[in-house]
């Protein structure tokens, strides 16, 4: 466990010296801030006109936060994970880590955890938006919805970061890792849902594999075991791929 933490801490600190990480944090926070502004403005407008369609139905939710955040994560996580293992392969520092008293899976989990903590840091900053919204509204925000929306970001970043780390372990070149990861995300996010319309018999399977179908359940405030298992399976798959890739490199 201490080894995982040692690796994770180095990666986490590394993000704060890396321009890419600042750009990612900036893009996410700026976009969310912009949408937050629109949400506040529109609810202020409807309040002025006397509560919109009669009653508290104008209360803004927080699902916009989850859907925007997750979409941006899908696009930016490849840039955060591309160098994690590929760069160690390129510079030869892998030889250092593989001859240190450290298990292969501890290395991979440590790398993943460092990136995960970085995303959680950004997520923690975004808490200001629901806190402000909560104080603006009379009945306050739907607490259950808020939990499921934040859970959607946590689960998605865990799964996609693990896949990114796994792919990064297969490469020596960061750019190759970047585009492979992005390609996989586009596939999971969007393409895999298509066949569901054409193959009725396997429709459930394609829908289950599609990331967005699980996210939309979470945005509606429902937390189901099947959705959680989906994201945790992808996390395990990514971390396993990374560990296997390191092992394969040793034997080559």
């Amino acid at each position: 466990m201490r080894n995982i933490w040692t690796i994770a801490r180095r990666e986490y600190n590394h993000y704060f010296t890396s321009p890419i990480a600042y750009v990612v944090a900036f893009v996410i926070l700026l976009t969310l801030g912009f949408i937050f502004g629109l949400v506040v403005w529109s609810s202020y407008q409807s309040a002025l006109t006397g509560g919109g369609f009669g009653g508290p139905s104008t209360a803004p939710g927080v699902d916009w936060l989850g859907s925007t955040f997750n979409f941006l994560l899908m696009l930016t996580i490849p840039a955060l994970t591309m160098r994690l293992v590929a760069d160690e392969n390129r510079t030869g520092t892998m030889e250092l880590l593989l001859t240190a008293p450290l298990r292969d899976w501890e290395l991979i989990v440590g790398k993943w955890l460092g990136a995960f903590l970085f995303i959680l840091t950004i997520l923690a900053i975004t808490l200001v938006y629901p806190i402000i919204l909560n104080s603006l509204e009379k009945p306050g925000l739907d607490q259950g919805l808020m939990v499921s929306v934040y859970l959607s970001v946590i689960l998605l970043s865990a799964a996609y970061l693990a896949l990114g780390v796994g792919i990064s372990s297969l490469f020596t070149n960061q750019i190759a890792a970047l585009f492979s990861t992005l390609g996989l995300f586009i596939f999971l996010w969007w393409l895999i849902g298509f066949p569901a319309n054409y193959f009725q018999s396997a429709s459930d399977l394609f829908t289950y594999l599609n990331t967005t179908s699980h996210l939309s359940t979470l945005y509606s405030g429902k937390i189901s075991l099947s959705d959680v298992i989906y994201f945790l399976s992808l996390t395990a798959l990514g971390l396993f791929t990374g560990t296997a890739a390191i092992d394969a490199r040793r034997w080559s």
Partner: protein, 310 residues
Amino acid sequence: MIRVEGLTKDYGSRRALSDLSFETGQGEVVGFLGPNGAGKTTTMRILTGYMPPTEGSATVAGYDVVTESLEVRKRVGYLPETVPLYTDMTALDYLKFMADLRQIPDSEERAFETLEMVGLDSRANSFIGSLSKGMRQRVGLAQALIHEPEVLILDEPTIGLDPGQVVEVRNIIREIGKQRTVLLSTHILSEAQQICDRVLIINKGKIVAEDTPENLQARLVGSERVSLRVRGDSDGLSKLLMKIKGVQSAHNAPDGSVEFQFAPGQDVRPLVAKTIVNSGYELLEMRPVGLSLEEIFLELTREDAHRGKK
């Protein structure tokens, strides 16, 4: 401390090591000599747990490198040939990271101590990327020493250093070698002579010779060689030398000097000097010519071929 038995490693169809066996004792500094591609780095990578052998076994400090890899890695300090450094970290942060991976308590204190040991404490907070090659090499060495390992494995520790730094690094290794087992690879014979108790010469994945540096040289050098230089024309000098009793052979070297050989123990140098001066030549220089590693290799491979014929 290190015991290697029948070690074989194939990279695809290319055999990098074939049936390598050797042993080293505690507190011994063993030099691993060989040309590029001889299998030195491969052997070291197997011993440090970086990769498993195709066949054969190896133990370090009593632990098997394949089945007890983590135990081996805890006890070995390793400096790979391309020094693995994070150039965007400071020297101190880097060593602290390595100390943490080694689970050393008070890692920062230990990191600083190790930097002092390699004489870099004044650059502790410099980024590794801004350090000179010699300094980086020493940071790499510090990383290998940080956990006071029982066995130290160094792949070409003095390559690319300037002469002053070479002396420093050799002194550090000799100091460490007093208590710990050191296995180092080099292709400089004089380096092996200065710091190693024993030398293993490896070629094409096999050990071709194993002895103390002195014995190795004595065994291989059947005769002593001397180079001499005179003012002006040296034509006819080799013929003159051949007439002297005890001189085995003499010939003109391309650079204008003349080389001659004599059997060890029968030093003919005073006689040669007297003869040359008496013959009217002006003697400028007379110096012994050492046997270079290249020549030792030629010698050894010739021995191999010879034995093959028998």
